[in-house]
Symmetry: C2
Subunit: 345 residues, 2 copies
DNA sequence: CAATATTTGGCAACCGGTTGACAAGAGGGG
DNA sequence: CCCCTCTTGTCAACCGGTTGCCAAATATTG
């Protein structure tokens, strides 16, 4: 309003007429120096209680809000955290996103979202771009290689979900508990041969899960066979049905729920009865896993908790705490629904 | 490096050692003035081709990246758009988020996500907070009242999805086509009485859908009755099953797919056969709608497209285009799956 | 009550770009 | 050959906070 030259600047600035109040406005109103205002509003006990009050009142009156960019410029702090997911389409990530958003905004951090479309290159680009504008970065099921991730982590706090990388804070579901529950339950129900339908080769997790299945089967004296899927989707599940039947397995554990659902649909379409003739166990307990008939038995990974934990680690690091030097493990558990059960020979 | 006083500033800055290159570094390397660098890198033909080249090479060599905050400070442009959804839990929004993210990042905009947890107050707060840091804001199914939204829109470009507000650019699925297809199909299959299970009272959409159903039923000479649900979730669907049975309707259209799924589960649990005894049609075609048995017939709203369109409108406005003065309507269509069909008396 | 320790507030530089005003240099016309 | 116009680069102010350093004000202490 009082700004000179306002007449010569023809509505160029994008911020509406009433640019919001600055610390200079407050300073004028409160009769102090701008720097004092800045201190009153950020540093805790740096100014006297009296001045503090005056300034706060003035700020309230002008209904002041800090300009995040002005603050970010000299300090580098932005109050945002970035989250990169491999594929926004994939419901697995929904819970992670939700957990991260909720936890972040509870501590006054805003979530910035990007996706890599499953491409390592896109992922690196997106990560680089984000990294410069956020205080910390979360990579959920990253597709880029370890060294890239370490390079990012050298720059700013980074937390990784669903993958374990030495030297970088990680949050990883510990699949063993859930898997051994699943395998034990299948063994108890009379199954003797089990197939594992694997996921994408680049996925760190698919290897961990297969190891877990193999180990548990050995323990329970089950036969374990590994089958490959073309892609970790419902469609991929449909396509692998033939192989499953050919394998002679009567129980199947899949890399994820989508595969399980597709597989179940295809098998049922072919006249198989689930779980009477074949038991199916998925992974993750995604949204919709209980929509099927029978509802899907699955090893639940607490993905929302992964998001929450990752954010917490990040924010702690930002406050100067050390990163946990071991990967944080969250428990998985078997959720028994209708798709697994006694084998009726 | 050459900066004086570097010794006195003891590693305070949070940005790793090698703070990235600035236009000043480029200027030095290229032997020109920083402002020339700035112009070369942003304004199109403001500098000579020769200087342009020199500067670009220098920038490449230093592997320069603009500091978004430094740019945002004087210009107000941030290259980000905000998206506020009522509930991250709700799969309806997944597609919107995906559409918005994809479209935005294709045009070099980053998506900033916030949720309102279905609370109008939280929503207003989140919107205010976001508005100051983004170039434009998308409100998906906003819960706040019209005036609040208009106030936001007065400040910066705002686009609304799933609600129509005069004077604010909106993207709204036009439910009529999908609904009339649904009702006509039900009528053709021998149904004479239809129930509409409504959603939350504050939802603008639930009213539109009920109007559409009523009108289509009149046209097709069907009896239409409206039932209320406690909440628009699977659970809410289960709870309304009793009312549906009592109503005597043989066909049901629900406010959304979650209600439809819950309703179908409950009815089937009670021994009803779908669709032989009762047909069920949902709304939105969310992820998982085809996981059920039978798969859910539903009126698809192209939610991904809504996200895309909203972003497009916003970015166009940012480039100085006018906002469309009419709400943008996207088509809905009936997706026939197994849950609707001929009534077997 | 003077001398010293501690608060508290002000000054000014800085973060890294953008942009209006201007001057030097290049090119064109009479 | 001179004057005028157009291009191109430079200067300097500015966006809105933060923070090191210093001095004034106040509190503490002998």
């Amino acid at each position: 309003m009082t700004s000179p030259g306002a007449a010569t600047a023809p509505a160029k600035r994008g911020r509406g007429e009433k640019s919001s109040a600055t610390i200079y406005d407050i300073a004028k109103l409160a009769g102090v120096n701008p720097s004092t205002v800045s201190r009153a509003l950020s540093k805790p006990g740096r100014v006297s209680a009296k001045t503090q009050k005056i300034i706060e009142d003035a700020a309230a009156e002008l209904n002041y809000q800090v300009n995040p960019f002005a603050r970010a410029l000299p300090t580098g702090r932005t109050q945002t955290i970035g989250l990169i997911v491999a594929d926004i389409t994939n419901p697995t990530f929904f819970d992670i996103i939700r957990g991260a958003e909720t936890t972040g905004s509870a501590r006054d951090y805003t979530l910035v979202l990007a996706e890599s479309a499953e491409s390592p290159e896109t992922e690196v680009t997106a990560a680089r771009r984000l990294l410069s504008t956020v205080d910390g970065l979360i990579l959920a099921s990253p597709r880029m290689d370890d060294d890239h991730i370490r390079a990012l982590a050298a720059d700013k706090p980074v937390a990784v979900i669903n993958r374990e990388i030495r030297g970088v804070p990680c949050v990883v579901p510990d699949v063993n508990k859930g898997i051994s529950e699943a395998v034990r339950s299948l063994a108890a129900n009379g199954h003797e041969k089990l197939a594992y339908v694997a996921g994408p080769k680049q996925s760190w997790m698919t290897a961990r899960r297969w190891e877990g299945v193999k180990a548990a089967c050995e323990w329970s004296k089950l036969d374990a066979v590994r089958l490959e899927s073309s892609k970790p989707t419902v469609d991929g599940g449909r396509q692998v049905a033939r192989d499953v039947l050919d394998s002679g397995a009567t129980a199947v554990i899949t890399y994820n729920d989508l595969l399980a659902i597709g597989l179940m649909q295809e098998l049922q379409a072919g006249g198989m009865r689930v779980p009477d003739q074949i038991s199916i166990v998925g992974f993750d307990d995604i949204f919709g896993a209980d929509f099927t008939t029978p509802a899907l038995t699955t090893v639940r990974s607490p993905l929302g908790e992964c998001g929450t934990r990752a954010v917490t680690i990040l924010l702690d690091m930002l406050q100067g705490h050390d990163a946990p030097d071991e990967a944080v493990r969250v428990e998985t558990e078997l959720v028994v629904r209708g798709s697994s059960g006694r084998l009726l020979a």
